[in-house]
Every structure is written in structure tokens, then in C-alpha cells.
């Protein structure tokens, strides 16, 4: 099937120079909070690099001033200096690692919480649009690629760059003539590095995509394993996976092949320049244009010229992907929050009437779903929304809970427009129980506690008791502490919905919206639940969406939503008597109950 489908490299992994600049500027902006520590980290890194460059110079000093001139004092001086240098190097390296980790990890932690907070406060419209997997990968793989950079990439990258620059300068200072000659090899290395950098970035993006494909294939093969077995398709799915897996292998090898021609070139260039340094340098010594110590220092330094080149071109991918990740994270942070608190948002009393006035709504990029809906729900009233699939019942309910803001008209709680109420305050007054009883990993009790984390054990039991199903859950092997397993697979479909309903009982809101909250529960249990909830619902406004008309029958009023409009409104009996849409829906429902009724 199609899970190995993202062919070609995806997304905005390639940033232009301007984009990269913007990302970096912004990062520095965020990092300002840690400026002191950051400057210290960079300072230590520079110091450390300098100590690395010092070694060959001391060897040169020892040879030229000490050995060649037969002055053991100078030699000893070089040795002592070297010892000092080694310890400075040790200390600066050590503190550079610690300091950088401190700054980097703090930055990452802030980034994680900041991005997640942003995610949490996005409106439902945002979650409709974005795929869950992509959002999760922002918080995981994108942040991880930054973490990787901080844990070792950054030190390597900075010091490789510094070392490359420092070595080049030093070599020129030692002997610019010899260095110019050695630079003959440079165009070859530069061209190779350039090509490598480009090719390997391409290959790397491809590998990334294939890994994602393989992993999602693995993921889908695991989460869909029951369906696969139900249709006896294990062998076909395995073969398909094998294909994706093989694609991954091929892209891996393509990436390796690129390294396999590049690394030898750099290695060879190193040997070749050493040969030049030895040959030409030796000749210059014989002409007395150079000391032997200089050649030695030259040869020793040359190796620190090519290693960094090699490192840099490999690290470039890491840096590039981290920049791309940062860019994606910033894009997420810049996303406007559609349902946000207005300044001076107020707290409202949920035990007030709900007024829906001239409300129209369309989902982003979709046609109108609701138009011109007027409805008054008194405080403490129970209203059922019924109507055909896609009529807009759930949408209307979501507007009342302010998952979305209406595109026309207004909804008021008491006298206050929903948009003027703080989102947090509103959510504690209005609770929605959705149809799919989504369970988190953890025990039954933990899942109920989602509604009110500080609730005590007794309160959790009480919540179950208030919907009349406490006994059912107490008899589970570990009682309320029974693990529900992945997505609640340990429970039957109806039991999951009951857990989700118990959350509502625990939350104890003033307005309760039940969006087909008992669709998988047998009508008998449903009746028990509804009876038990009578007391719970006393004095509360309840909006119930149900396809089972037994529920609407028990409500004070029924609102029939059809084609995005409020088609009928009245008590069950009135509507049945009126002989309209509701009456025919009801007739269909009752006919199912058998002639017995």
C-alpha cells in the first residue's frame, strides 16, 4: 500500500541564504537570555582551538632554537611551555563542553516548552489542518536534530572552522611561499568538498525520507496488524515492507558511496601536500631559505588543515538540517492562535442561558456548514441535537464550547460573548465528551483523572458511581488501577466510552455537551447511565447529540439540525405531533423497535 510514497525529497529542508540568516538572527535573539554563558562558551572554544595550534609551534621552537642550535635550555623551555599548554587545553576543553551544554540544553528546554505551549493553545482548526504525525515530529525529530547539534556538532563545527582558519593563517606566517605551493592542491579539495557537500546533502535528505517511510511502514504494519491478519495478508505486507526496507538500504549505500570517493580525495590531498612541503621545503632549507623546524611544524600543521575540511563538509549536513528544523519550529511559533483570549477576558458563570444568534460557520477552505442559526438554551435546560450525518450538529456543539469561533453571528453565555471569556475559564464551565473515548496510556483511574488531575481516589470512584458504573470497573483484575493498554485496547468499546463519560462526571461542569458519548454502549447501560446522571445533571445545561432517539425523548427540547440550519425546535411530543422531519426520523426509529412497542 501507499506508505512508501514520499518519493523525491520533501519539505522545506533547503533554506536559502536569506532564510538561514533570518533563522540565525532569531536564534541569537532567543539566546540573548543566556548571553553571558554563551559568550563564555565561545570564548573557551576559541581558547581551546588556540592551544591546539600551539603544539606544532612549540615543536618548531624546540627543534630550531634547541636542537639545531644545541641549546638545551630552549628545548626545556619548549617542553615546559608544552606542559602548560596541555593543561590549558585540558581545562578549556572541559569547561567549553560543560558551558556549551548548559546553554544549549537550556535553550532546548525552553524551545520544547514554548513550542508545546503554542501547540496546546492552537484552535481546533489548526489540528484539523495539521497531521498529528507532523506535529509530533516537530517536537521529536526536529528538536532532536538540534540536540544532536548541541551535544557534539556545535563544538566540532566551531572548532573545525576555527582550526581551519587558524592553521591557514599560521601556515602563511610560517612560510607564505611554501603555503602558496601547497595551495595547489586546494582547488581539487575545494571542488571535491563542494560537490560532496551538495551530493551528500541530497543523499542525506533522501535517506531521511526513506527512513521515515520505513518507520511509518513499520508503524502501520504494527498498528494495523489485526486487520492484516484478519484478511490473511501477512505475506503481502511483509513483501511490501521488504521493498521499502530495500529502498532504504539503497539510499543508505548511495550516501556511503559519496563518502567513499570524497574521503580518499582529502586523504590523498593531505599526503600530496605533505610531499610538497617535504620536497620544496627541503630544497628551501638547502638554500637556507627555511629552517628544518619550520618544515616539521609545517608538516604537523598540514594535517590539521585537511582534517577540518573533511569534518566541516560532513558536519555541514548536520548544521543544515538543524537550521531547517529551527526554521520549522519558528514557523510553528509564528502560527497565529485563532481562538485566543482577548485582552480583559472575563470569567463567566456557566449557569446562565446560552444564546446563539444568527450564527454561521464554515471550516477553513470549506463551504458553509452552518448558517443563520438562532437558538436560546435556558440555564439548566436539556436540549438534544438530532439530524442526519453531516448536518452540522457536532459543529454547532463545538462552537458552543468555543473550539472554533463562528464566522457570523455570536454566541453568548449569559450576557457575555464567548470571545470575551477567557478560554481557560470557559473550559472549566463547559465540557465536551466526544464520541471517540480517547484513552491515554495508564490506568483507568489515571484516565478519569484527566478531567481533574488533583482529584482524590475517592472522587474518582464517586465519579464512576455517579454515572452508575462503578461496580463494573471495580471488578477488573486490578480494579481502577488496571492498565488500559495502548489506546485502551484492554477495555471493550463501550467500557472506553464509559471511562470518557466518567471524566465528565469528575469535571463537574455547568454545561455538559455529550457528542454521541454513548454510541457504543448498549441501550440498557445507556439508560442506567442516564438515570444515574439525572442527579448529576440537575441544574446543569446539557446538550446531547445522539442518533438514538431514546435520548432525545428524555430531553426538555429537541433541535433538529438539517443542512446547516435549525429546521425544527420544540419538545419531543410537539415535534412528533407536528409531523415534520423529526416525526419521520422518530417513526423510522420506532419501527426498529418492533411492532411490540
Amino acid at each position: 500500500m501507499g506508505w512508501s510514497m514520499t518519493h523525491g525529497t520533501t519539505d522545506d529542508a533547503r533554506l536559502g541564504v536569506a532564510g538561514t540568516g533570518a533563522v540565525l538572527r532569531r536564534t541569537f535573539g532567543y539566546a540573548r537570555a543566556y548571553r553571558r554563558a554563551g559568550v563564555a562558551a565561545v570564548g573557551l572554544l576559541v581558547l581551546w582551538t588556540l592551544t591546539l595550534l600551539g603544539g606544532p609551534l612549540l615543536v618548531r621552537h624546540g627543534i630550531d632554537e634547541g636542537i639545531v642550535k644545541g641549546d638545551s635550555g630552549q628545548l626545556n623551555l619548549a617542553i615546559v611551555m608544552y606542559v602548560v599548554l596541555a593543561f590549558v587545553s585540558y581545562a578549556s576543553f572541559r569547561f567549553a563542553i560543560l558551558q556549551l551544554a548548559k546553554v544549549g540544553e537550556a535553550f532546548l528546554r525552553d524551545m520544547r516548552t514554548r513550542v508545546f505551549d503554542k501547540l496546546l493553545h492552537q484552535s481546533m482548526a489548526f489540528f484539523d489542518r495539521e497531521k498529528a504525525g507532523v506535529l509530533v515530529s516537530r517536537m521529536t525529530s526536529d528538536v532532536d536534530s538540534l540536540q544532536e547539534l548541541i551535544q557534539f556538532g556545535l563544538i566540532m563545527f566551531t572548532s573545525a572552522a576555527l582550526l581551519l582558519a587558524g592553521t591557514t593563517i599560521l601556515l602563511f606566517l610560517l612560510s607564505w611561499k611554501l603555503m602558496l605551493l601547497c595551495l595547489v592542491a586546494m582547488p581539487m579539495v575545494a571542488a571535491a568538498s563542494f560537490k560532496f557537500q551538495r551530493d551528500s546533502n541530497e543523499a542525506y535528505l533522501l535517506v531521511r525520507d526513506r527512513i521515515a517511510d520505513t518507520l511509518s511502514g513499520l508503524q502501520e504494519g504494527l498498528s494495523g496488524v489485526r486487520v492484516v491478519q484478519a484478511f490473511a495478508r501477512e505475506h503481502v505486507e511483509s513483501a511490501r515492507f521488504s521493498q521499502a526496507n530495500h529502498d532504504l538500504y539503497r539510499t543508505h549505500m548511495a550516501a556511503v558511496r559519496i563518502q567513499c570517493w570524497y574521503l580518499p580525495i582529502v586523504e590523498f590531498a593531505g599526503a600530496a601536500t605533505t610531499a610538497v612541503a617535504l620536497g620544496v621545503g627541503g630544497w628551501m632549507v638547502s638554500e637556507d631559505a627555511m629552517t628544518i623546524g619550520t618544515i616539521v611544524a609545517f608538516i604537523l600543521l598540514l594535517s590539521s588543515l585537511f582534517e577540518p575540511v573533511q569534518q566541516l563538509s560532513q558536519l555541514f549536513n548536520m548544521v543544515q538540517s538543524a537550521t531547517a528544523s529551527l526554521n520549522k519550529l519558528y514557523t510553528l511559533l509564528d502560527e497565529p492562535v485563532l481562538v485566543a483570549d482577548r485582552p480583559n477576558a472575563v470569567v463567566a458563570d456557566g449557569r446562565s442561558p446560552i444564546t446563539i444568534e444568527g450564527v454561521g460557520f464554515s471550516y477553513v477552505g470549506g463551504g458553509p456548514v452552518l448558517s443563520d442559526v438562532d437558538l436560546q438554551i435556558a440555564a439548566g435546560e436539556r436540549v438534544a441535537f438530532v439530524g442526519p450525518t453531516g448536518a452540522g450538529k457536532s459543529t454547532l456543539a463545538k462552537l458552543i464550547a468555543r473550539f472554533y469561533d463562528p464566522t457570523a453571528g455570536s454566541i453568548r453565555l449569559g450576557d457575555t460573548d464567548l470571545r470575551d471569556i477567557s478560554v481557560r475559564a470557559l473550559r472549566s464551565e463547559i465540557v465536551v465528551v466526544p464520541q471517540e473515548g480517547y484513552l491515554f496510556s495508564g490506568s483507568v483511574a489515571e484516565n478519569i483523572r484527566v478531567a481533574r488531575p488533583e482529584a482524590s481516589e475517592a472522587e474518582v470512584r464517586d465519579a464512576l458511581d455517579r454515572i452508575g458504573v462503578l461496580e463494573r470497573f471495580e471488578t477488573l483484575p486490578a480494579g481502577l488501577d488496571t492498565e488500559v493498554e495502548e489506546r485502551g485496547s484492554r477495555l471493550s468499546a463501550g467500557e472506553k466510552q464509559l471511562v470518557s463519560l466518567a471524566r465528565a462526571a469528575l469535571a463537574d461542569p455547568s454545561v455538559l455537551i455529550l457528542d454521541e458519548a454513548t454510541s457504543s454502549v448498549d441501550p440498557g447501560t445507556e439508560a442506567i447511565v442516564e438515570t444515574a446522571m439525572e442527579t448529576l445533571m440537575q441544574g446543569r445545561t446539557v446538550i446531547a447529540i445522539a442518533h438514538r432517539l431514546s435520548t432525545s425523548q428524555r430531553c426538555d427540547r429537541v433541535a433538529v439540525v438539517a443542512d446547516g440550519r435549525l429546521a425544527e425546535l420544540g419538545t419531543h411530543d410537539d415535534l412528533v405531533a407536528a409531523g415534520g422531519q423529526y416525526a419521520s426520523l422518530y417513526a423510522a426509529w420506532v419501527s426498529g423497535l418492533g411492532e411490540h412497542a
Partner: protein
């Protein structure tokens, strides 16, 4: 001087590889927390391996043996690379001494260095290629095996092991494994370098060699301790990151619940805690780096200082040449990397063997539900689709407290009959459905399809004969057409459309942007619950089974639509045995017979009307009394 740059690369072998590996969508989600022990649950966790690591090593050995030619070639390449590499400092030394100092010809030495460089560079490429090739082949092969194996494992195994847990075995563990296999030929080359360089140095200047090398074994020791401490620290970072990922994943997929209860602050706090944990774990691993890396740097410097100090005086005393001094310098540097890697390979090997155990655990789990040795074919003629359950006992966790989910259940369904299974939530309706295709094995009693015990039927044949529409709809990320044609990908479009029409799905599918080719699933178009259910029904219809089980398959479909589906289903039901699990009277009434299930036992059976009339328990389950009261007036 050059040694520093490689330090960091020791960990991941190559930064680029690691980037690619970690850059992938992290789908690994581990379920933290203690869990009850259960027969099917894999024993090892991410931070501890159950039992001896010998299983891990033997997995490494057997998989490596399959690639022995490649590994041998890789080692040969490593040998040649070493030869070239070790020669260069010697040539520099000779050039400096014979050429520069003694004024001899320089060109031959320069050319020789170029030659040696070309040689070592060439084999550097080969060595790298072979090392990765072997490792990647082994990785791909093992991943194939894991996938194919897991696909065949029974339902209770999957109940007990979360997707995230299995993902981490098929991914993270495999990476550790692959990493180690890559290192094997590289290690061999490193070992050679250490031996030859030591010998050369000893031959050149025995005493200086001993002094210069004295501190280097410590590099090896430090390298080993470093890896031993770093690996668990990295594992902890990964574990903490996985926990953080779980919070994110659950908040995003459960966003309706989170928003519905206004629990954003709670989730935010959970995440802040996890972020703190990751932060602390990462700092701890950095502290380990800070403790070891500078030390591993310092030790070689001591060697270099010894070379300059003692060696310098030897040169002054005329007992050694400048060239030798330089080549010693270079050799000491050349030794650092291999020594450190040799130290680390031990710890990496331990990590790989732990990963190997976790992989082997999966591969060694035998499928509990296997094909019989001598399968009995299902009859092909006559009235087909007779289902018979005789005295069936079943519990998901046999031996646990409680009375069992199904208790001595007997039920016979005649060919072509349609039966509605009705019962309160948790009474075992779905469980019966899962037993028929042998997703779980009954603990007692027997189940027969067309007179053949299902344990005697080949699984493929059985599952082609019995199709289930699960109460929780799972669709694949793929086109609608592929999803419907899942049972028979060869099916032509007419067959797909036919099945969709019978499931009441054709109409809405045609209205989608790309009709039957619309991609659905995580990366595609999102459908409503009712629409998804209808596609799942179409998928089962296309499979054309002799027994069709619909487990609450229309719960999200509204009554008017359900009406249409019902009419269509009537046609489907006519031709086969059908078991319908439903709560809605209208759907139930469609069946020839209704069976009432309470707490795993059948308490009544008859037509809908009969039961309504005769069984008070039935009326209770359907809440019919109340409806009759309230709605009786109509």
C-alpha cells in the same frame, strides 16, 4: 594535533549517518511505568536486558556469518589501508634525515609519500564502503525478518506489547546492532595499526617508544570507561525523549479530550517535567563527556611532550635524528584514535548484544496460533457457512481472578442464517467475534466452521472464510480503492465499486476530490467516523467470506443512512452467514435470530419480537421498556 577532530566521531562512527538516523520521524513511543507481568509480554525493557547476553552475541554471530565474505574483504581492505598509512611517517622521517639534513635527493621521498598516500586513500574508500555495506545489509535483512515475524504473531502478543516498544526494537535496537557490525572491520584495522606502529616505534627507539607509549594504554582504559558510562547516559536521554514524545503524541492525538476538559495546563506541566528530565539527562551525558574527553586529549599530549622532551635530548646527544623525532610525533598521534576505538568497541559490543537480546526475544517468540500439521480443507460444496461453538471457555488472561469472559458458550448458526449478538457492554460479544478467525485460542471447548474444527484449518483459508468488520476501524494510509481491495488487490474497479455500493459508501466516495483514488489515512484526506466504517464494511464485503461478522459496524452512522446500509446489507446477508453485533433495534431486527449474551453466557435466543415479548433481560438491554413507555403513544 589531528586527533581532536575525531573524538566526537567515535560515538556515531560518522556524524552524517547519525544525523540521518535521528532525523527520521521519531515514532518510538515507549509506555513508561510498571506493568503487570503477563505471559506474552517481552521481558527486556529499554534499560535492562532479561537473561544472559549470550543470545545477543549468538544473534550477532549468526547474522555476521551470512556476510562473511564481505567482512573478510573489509578486513583485507583495512589491512592494506593500514600498510599505506603506517608507511607515510617513515617516509617523512627518511626524507627529513636523508634528504633535508644530509642533503640527499628529496624527490624520491616525496614521490614515495604521494604513492603511499594514494594507496592508503584508495583502500580507505574500500574499507569504508565494505564496512557499511555489510552492516546495512545485515540491518535490512534483520528488519525484514522482524517485520515478517511480528506480522505473524498472535493478537495477545500485540495486546501485551505496545507498538512503540516493538518499534524501538525494529529501529533503535537495530541501529545499535548495525553500528557494531560496521565497527568490526574498522576495529580490525585499528588493531593492526596499534600493533604495527608499536613495533615500528620499538624498533626505531626502544626506550623512547616505551616512555612515549607509557601513557597511551590509559587512553584505551579511559575509552572503555567512557563508553561504559556514556552508553547508559545516552540510553537515558533516549528514554526520557521517548517519554516526552509520548506526552506530545497523546496530547496531539487526544487533542479533543485535552481541549474538551481544558486540561492544557496539565499537559503543559507534564511536558515541562519531561523536558526537565531530558534536560537533566542530557546535561548528565555532557558531564560524562566533559570528564573523559579532555582527559583522553591530555594523555597523548603527555606522549608528545615526552617525545619532544626525551627525544629532543636524544637528538641533542646525537642518538636520534630529527626525522625520527618527527615520525615519533606523528606515530603517537596516529595511535590515539585506534586505541580509543578499541576501548569503546567493548562497550559498543555490550550495547549491541543487549540490543541483540531484545531483537532475539521478538524473533524467538513463537506464534501461538499456528497452522495444523495436516490441515483439513473446508468443504467447497453444499450449504456453506455453518458456525458451531461448543462449550467454549475463554479468558484473555487465563488463571487470573474472575470468572472468564466466555463461559461454556454453545451456539450454532446455520448456513446463510443471520444472527444478531446482543448484550450489555463488556459481555463478550466482540470476544466471540475474535475467536472465530482464531485471533485468540479458546481455552476450552471447540469451534467448527462447516463441520471442521478451526484448529484443523489452515489459517489463511480460515481467515478468507471468516471476515470481521472491527468495531474500531483501521484504514491504511493509501487510496480508498486500495483499502477496499485489501483482501484482493487484483480486484477490478467494478468489484470495488460494487462492494462500496453495498456498504452505502459509493455515493460519498464519488463526491471526494479524487473519488476512489483519494488518499486517506494519516497523510491523506480525513473521513468522518461513519464514512470510515462504511469503507471497512466494503472491504469485508469484497473479501466475499462465507461468514461475515459486523462488530457494531454502524455505530457512527446516523439512522437515516443506516437505513440505506441496512437495505443494502440485506442483499449481502442473503448470500452468507452473518453475525451482527449491534445495539440499535432497527439493525437487530434485520437478523433472522437474536442471541442475548450476558456475562459470557447465552441467556436467550429467538427472533427480535419473540425476545422483546419473552425476555425481560432483553428488554432491559435494549431499554425497550422505557422506550415503549415513553413512545408508546405513537
Amino acid at each position: 594535533m589531528t586527533h581532536w577532530t575525531r573524538i566526537w566521531l567515535d560515538e556515531p562512527v560518522c556524524a552524517c549517518e547519525v544525523g540521518a538516523r535521528k532525523g527520521a520521524v521519531t515514532l518510538t513511543m515507549m509506555t513508561p511505568g510498571a506493568r503487570q507481568d503477563k505471559g506474552d509480554r517481552l521481558r527486556s525493557s529499554a534499560d535492562g536486558v532479561h537473561g544472559s547476553s549470550r543470545r545477543g552475541w549468538s544473534l550477532i554471530a549468526t547474522t555476521a556469518r551470512e556476510e562473511w565474505v564481505g567482512i573478510a574483504l573489509g578486513m583485507l581492505a583495512g589491512l592494506l589501508y593500514t600498510a599505506g598509512r603506517v608507511a607515510v611517517p617513515l617516509l617523512i622521517q627518511l626524507g627529513l634525515d636523508r634528504g633535508v639534513q644530509e642533503g640527499g635527493p628529496l624527490l624520491p621521498w616525496s614521490l614515495a609519500i604521494v604513492g603511499a598516500g594514494l594507496f592508503s586513500a584508495t583502500f580507505l574508500g574500500f574499507r569504508r564502503y565494505l564496512a557499511f555495506r555489510n552492516a546495512r545489509i545485515i540491518e535490512a535483512r534483520l528488519r525484514d525478518r522482524i517485520f515478517a515475524h511480528v506480522q505473524r504473531l498472535h493478537f495477545s502478543f500485540h495486546d501485551a506489547n505496545a507498538t512503540g516498544e516493538l518499534m524501538s526494537r525494529g529501529n533503535t535496537d537495530l541501529q545499535h546492532f548495525q553500528n557494531f557490525v560496521t565497527l568490526v572491520p574498522l576495529t580490525f584495522g585499528n588493531f593492526l595499526i596499534v600493533v604495527t606502529v608499536t613495533i615500528i616505534m620499538l624498533i626505531l627507539q626502544p626506550l623512547l617508544a616505551l616512555l612515549a607509549l607509557a601513557s597511551l594504554p590509559l587512553v584505551n582504559v579511559l575509552g572503555r570507561k567512557f563508553a561504559q558510562e556514556l552508553n547508559p547516559a545516552i540510553m537515558r536521554v533516549q528514554q526520557e525523549s521517548a517519554e516526552l514524545a509520548t506526552v506530545v503524541e497523546e496530547s496531539v492525538s487526544g487533542v479533543r479530550v485535552v481541549k474538551g476538559f481544558g486540561s492544557e495546563p496539565v499537559q503543559a506541566e507534564k511536558l515541562a517535567n519531561e523536558a526537565d528530565d531530558v534536560h537533566d539527562a542530557a546535561l548528565a551525558s555532557s558531564a560524562i563527556r566533559a570528564r573523559y574527553l579532555p582527559g583522553m586529549e591530555l594523555l597523548p599530549s603527555i606522549g608528545l611532550i615526552t617525545v619532544l622532551g626525551y627525544g629532543g635530548h636524544l637528538v641533542l646527544d646525537g642518538e636520534m635524528t630529527v626525522g625520527e623525532l618527527v615520525s615519533f610525533n606523528i606515530y603517537v598521534i596516529m595511535l590515539i584514535q585506534p586505541l580509543r576505538m578499541l576501548g569503546m568497541i567493548v562497550a559498543n559490543g555490550q550495547r549491541a548484544s543487549a540490543a541483540g537480546v531484545r531483537i532475539a526475544e521478538v524473533l524467538e517468540t513463537a506464534p501461538a496460533i499456528t497452522d495444523p500439521a495436516t490441515p483439513t480443507p473446508l468443504p467447497r460444496t453444499g450449504a456453506l457457512g455453518r458456525v458451531e461453538l461448543r462449550n467454549v471457555d475463554f479468558d484473555y488472561h487465563p488463571g487470573a481472578t474472575g470468572a472468564g469472559v466466555l463461559r461454556g458458550l454453545s451456539l450454532t448458526i446455520e448456513p446463510g442464517e443471520s444472527v444478531a449478538l446482543v448484550g450489555p457492554t463488556g459481555s463478550g460479544k466482540s470476544t466471540i467475534a475474535r475467536l472465530l478467525p482464531r485471533f485468540y485460542e479458546a481455552d476450552g471447548g471447540s469451534i467448527m466452521i462447516d463441520g471442521v474444527d478451526i484448529q484443523k484449518i489452515q489459517r489463511r483459508e480460515l481467515r478468507k472464510a471468516v471476515s470481521i468488520v472491527f468495531e474500531e476501524t483501521f484504514l491504511f494510509s493509501s487510496s480508498i480503492r486500495d483499502n477496499i481491495a485489501f483482501a484482493d488487490p487484483e480486484a477490478d474497479l467494478d468489484a470495488v465499486v460494487g462492494a462500496a455500493a453495498l456498504a452505502g459508501a459509493d455515493e460519498f466516495i464519488r463526491e471526494l476530490p479524487e473519488g476512489y483514488d483519494t488518499e486517506i489515512g494519516e497523510r491523506g484526506f480525513s473521513l468522518s467516523g461513519g464514512q470510515r466504517q462504511r469503507i471497512a464494511i466494503a472491504r469485508a464485503i469484497l473479501a466475499d467470506p462465507r461468514v461475515l461478522v459486523l462488530d457494531d459496524a454502524t455505530s457512527a452512522v446516523d439512522p437515516t443512512k443506516e437505513h440505506e446500509i441496512r437495505d443494502a446489507l440485506g442483499e449481502v446477508m442473503e448470500r452468507r452467514t452473518t453475525i451482527v453485533i449491534a445495539h440499535r433495534p432497527a439493525t437487530i431486527a434485520l437478523a433472522d435470530r437474536v442471541v442475548l449474551l450476558v456475562e459470557g453466557c447465552i441467556v436467550a435466543s429467538g427472533t427480535h419480537e419473540e425476545l422483546l415479548a419473552s425476555s425481560s433481560r432483553y428488554r432491559e438491554v435494549l431499554a425497550a421498556d422505557r422506550d415503549a413507555e415513553d413512545g408508546g403513544a405513537v
